[in-house]
Symmetry: C2
Subunit: 162 residues, 2 copies
DNA sequence: TATTGTTATACTCTATAACTATA
DNA sequence: TATAGTTATAGAGTATAACAATA
């Protein structure tokens, strides 16, 4: 039906192309979701998304991560990682372990308490996320996960190559 | 090959399920991308992501949007929309038009300058985004766009129902 | 009374850069 | 000299709530 106009709500000027449309939509979805998650993390756990993200990074890396690695993974400066780590350490959720090979460096790890607290947060969090993502079927979520995996690999590759 | 361990880099504890894995990956990708885009928007255009997002919302709605609509779409409070709109209005990129039907309300629109500036930003921006997304093929980007569309519809539906 | 938008305030995150200690 | 991480500071976004004008 060539006579049907594109949906106004999602229409973009003709000179915008695939990648930017994708990015704008990704940005919109992410803002909608992060807004929800941020509110609920604050109300239920008195915490924030960057703090949650840092814990999640550590949960996936039981061997711990250097401050600089966290900085790269989270795309923020080491100064900012210091601040977030300070807060989490004050709450007893993470600890800095001195690096025996390099006395300037630390390895940041979850404490047992941190692992426990993150597990609880992650569990409740999962309920919210299931709700927010229930517009997609299981196989669609799987597809999206796979696509994001490719994207992530590419982005990490760019990062590593700098 | 059932004997092969899952990739450490992407492995999650067994009790994490599909939606949360998807969300954590989405969050990681988004952080990596927004970090890049934020830096470049600042360096090239002395602007920020929320400001860019607001302009992008208006670009997709030539008829203009109410402050409250912007607030909903961007998932931030009306107070914050006021602040961002003030900045953009001071730069001459948007303007508030009084609503003839409701003298409390405004319709925010792009000015011709705003449309021009956004077009320039969007063009350069597109180059960055193409680069950041080049880990995906054209058809993969299309798939992801479609999936995000479904997700967005669901999220907006939730919002509208509140 | 309820709603639209503004204002004020406090807190967090982010960016920049100077700095210390170590490599 | 270069690197890992800290500290200090300023700027921006965000949350909360009180407020004015209008519905």
């Amino acid at each position: 039906m060539p006579a049907v106009k594109p949906d106004l709500e999602t229409r973009l000027a003709e000179d915008h192309h695939q990648a930017i449309k994708l990015w704008l939509r990704l940005l919109t979805c992410t803002n909608l979701i992060t807004g929800q998650i941020r509110t609920r993390l604050r109300e239920h756990f008195q915490t924030t998304l960057p703090r949650f993200d840092l814990l999640a990074q550590l949960e996936r890396h039981p061997e711990g991560l250097k401050m600089s690695e966290l900085s790269k993974r989270m795309m923020v400066t080491t100064g900012n990682v210091t601040g977030i780590t300070d807060q989490l350490e004050a709450e007893g959720l993470v600890r800095r372990e001195p690096d025996p090979q390099d006395r300037r460096a630390f390895t940041v790890k979850l404490t047992p308490l941190g692992r426990q607290v993150f597990a609880r947060m992650a569990q409740e969090h999962e309920g919210w996320v299931i709700e927010l993502f229930e517009g997609l079927s299981s196989s669609e979520k799987e597809q999206m996960y796979t696509l994001l995996g490719k994207l992530k690999t590419h982005l990490n590759g760019k990062e590593a190559r700098r």
